[in-house]
């Protein structure tokens, strides 16, 4: 899958590139509006990560160009601007998602995956991980064909973990995914334990393998055995 990262902050762009590269993504970087316009003219991407404040112009320009060329590339805005007005403007101009900086790369990854799923399969899709099947539309999880009762949070957590398979996730990254903006306001992220414990227990009861490994006590990793 091809991703275009339009970001003038080269350090952020390379971090994203590094993180995504190991997950079957091919990332290209464009640090200016001019370069970005050239690239979207020539190629099409599965997903474009768009920073709004570029040195040579406003990132919204990209959305207008995509619209005028009838391109259907998915766009996720990554911006430090977090006003409701900017978000609404971005989304009405055709962006698919909006992520406020600073964000967790793991969060960005699952957002990209969700976007790509919506675009490619018209939203009708089932994620399969060995014996686990997740239907993102009907919001149901099946293990070896048997339906399992998952809460919305547990389902969210499972999708997040599988989406970031083979990556080490910090508790704060998981907490942020589960509680959104509120996570970094919390003094402690112990609630993550509870959800993980419950989810693991349910998966184990249904006979799924134990893919979720604890990393040095504070991190987690969903490993493909």
């Amino acid at each position: 899958m091809k991703i275009l990262i339009i970001e003038d902050e080269i350090e952020i762009a390379t971090s994203i590139k590094n993180y995504l590269s190991s997950n079957d993504f091919v990332c290209e970087l464009a640090s200016t509006l001019k370069l970005a316009i050239e690239k979207i003219d020539l190629y099409s991407y599965d997903c474009i990560l768009l920073d709004l404040m570029l040195t040579d112009g406003d990132g919204f320009k990209i959305l207008e160009i995509l619209k005028s060329q009838n391109k259907t590339d998915g766009v996720i805005i990554i911006s430090a601007k977090d006003t409701l007005e900017t978000k609404i403007e971005g989304l009405t101009l055709g962006a698919d998602d909006y992520l406020t900086k600073p964000f967790h790369l793991s969060e960005l990854l699952v957002r990209i995956q969700a976007l790509v799923r919506r675009k490619q399969f018209n939203g009708n899709n089932v994620i399969t991980f060995n014996e686990i099947e997740i239907d993102t539309i009907s919001k149901s999880v099946k293990i070896k064909g048997n339906k399992i009762e998952f809460t919305k949070k547990e389902m969210d957590l499972l999708l997040f973990l599988i989406g970031n398979k083979n990556k080490v996730l910090s508790k704060s990254a998981i907490a942020e995914h589960l509680s959104g903006d509120m996570a970094d306001m919390l003094d402690n992220h112990d609630f993550v334990y509870a959800h993980i414990k419950n989810m693991k227990k349910k998966l184990k009861e249904m006979g799924a393998a134990d893919y979720l490994k604890s990393v040095y006590g504070t991190g987690y990793k969903w490993e493909d055995e």
């Binding site: 350090e11 430090a80 600073p102 080490v168 509120m182 306001m185 919390l186």
Partner: protein
């Protein structure tokens, strides 16, 4: 006690008038009396000289009795006392017409008629001292009263017309708030001093507003600019975390850095929120159903409170509608929740009570009451080692202020309670 400008001016006028009256009345009285006596004496002397010049050469001894009979104020008698010099003195005589004693000025002078020594006395009726003093006092009082009434009217008129620009300016400054965008409009007038005052105030306000503005912008920009380096930092940390060669110790270090970054993000977000409230970014007011917001957040925070085994009891009236910006209302409730959870103890309690006119968040926590005087100031922390950044209560206070509500804190039965009155 503070007095109005007019009252103060009038008070000085009255004091001054009284002093003038107290000193003026006796002074006037004595000068008047002295002048009057002087004149009376002179008149008596003239009469005597007239008598000596015209009557003495003609008068005969047998005519003296008739003379005395015909002249009530002139009198000739034998000089039995043997006076040689003129004497002037005062004496009261009974007036049969007025039926009262009246003061007279009397001149007694030795004269020689036909080589015989006689005393010629001439008298003049004096105005009563007492009456004179009374009349003087009365005249003075009337004059001073007229003066005072005049001054009062003039001062009033002056204070209304002359001081009008001053009172206008005063009103404008009273309404001025530095965190509001509108500056007072001080009207120019034709009085130099007031124009100077207005110009000085204008300069002061402009200077302060621009300092305030730039400080506000600085905080907002600083918080905003920090987001990018934090994003870079966060991204790098997440990438390092993926390295296969990390040992437990290194992993722990990175995780600590991760948590610190989270604190940094939180601090930054809170600063942004505060400066945005300051710059009036959340100006859209709507009717908010508070119990909905509380219930929406209750699920999330109940989950958060599980790790401390905190029990939450609620007593929430439905359909409590307040006017607020929606984001601010959510921010207020979530900060109150965070506050009650973050400062709580293991197996603690939280009580939330919502009635039509107030909202109460109570929690167990430290066994001592919080110090109230600095509690709402930015970066003031009750417990320096806590993970909090001391901005939570500032945000709560700011939102409460923005909505023109009030917030009170009290500590009873080991419960810290924040009460917000709408």
């Amino acid at each position: 006690m503070n007095k109005k400008l007019l009252q103060k001016t009038l008070r000085y006028y009255i004091i001054f008038s009284l002093v003038v009256m107290l000193l003026g009345v006796p002074l006037f009285f004595f000068i008047n009396q002295w002048l009057y006596l002087h004149e009376a004496d002179e008149a008596l002397q003239v009469k005597k000289e007239e008598f000596v010049k015209f009557f003495v050469p003609q008068i005969k001894e047998n005519e003296i009795a008739i003379f005395n009979k015909l002249n009530s104020d002139l009198h000739i008698e034998k000089n039995n006392e043997g006076i040689v010099k003129d004497t002037i003195f005062e004496r009261n005589f009974y007036n049969h017409m007025d039926k009262e004693n009246e003061p007279f000025r009397i001149l007694r002078s030795p004269v020689t008629i036909n080589n015989k020594s006689y005393i010629f006395s001439v008298r003049a009726n004096l105005v009563d001292d007492y009456e004179l003093a009374l009349i003087t006092l009365a005249v003075f009082t009337v004059i001073i009263l007229i003066l005072l009434i005049g001054l009062f009217i003039i001062t009033r008129r002056l204070s209304i017309t002359l001081w009008k620009p001053f009172y206008e300016t005063l009103k404008q400054i009273e309404q001025f708030e530095i965190d509001k965008t509108s500056n007072p409009k001080l009207i120019a007038n034709d009085i130099e001093e007031f124009n100077r005052l207005n110009n000085t105030i204008n300069n002061l306000i402009q200077k302060n507003s621009s300092i305030y503005q730039s400080q506000k912008e600085f905080i907002e920009n600083a918080a905003h600019e920090l987001q990018t380096p934090i994003a870079i930092f966060k991204g790098k940390l997440e990438n390092i975390l993926q390295r296969k060669d990390l040992n437990s110790e290194q992993f722990k270090l990175i995780d600590d850095l991760n948590n610190t970054t989270t604190r940094l993000v939180k601090l930054n977000k809170n600063l942004l929120v505060l400066s945005k409230i300051d710059s009036n970014s959340y100006y859209e007011i709507e009717k908010i159903n508070l119990h909905e917001i509380i219930n929406n957040q209750l699920t999330f925070f109940s989950e958060q409170s599980l790790s401390k085994k905190i029990s939450i009891t609620t007593e929430i009236e439905e359909n409590v509608v307040v006017s607020s910006n929606h984001f601010l209302a959510e921010m207020l409730i979530s900060n109150l929740f965070l506050n009650t959870i973050n400062h709580n103890v293991l197996d603690g309690q939280i009580t939330i009570k919502l009635t039509n006119d107030k909202l109460l968040f109570s929690n167990t926590g430290s066994l001592l009451p919080l110090q109230t005087e600095k509690m709402f100031e930015r970066f003031s922390k009750s417990n320096p080692s806590s993970q909090g950044n001391g901005l939570g209560l500032s945000i709560i206070k700011k939102i409460v202020d923005t909505n023109h509500w009030t917030i009170n804190y009290n500590f009873t039965n080991r419960m810290h309670t924040f009460e917000i009155v709408f």
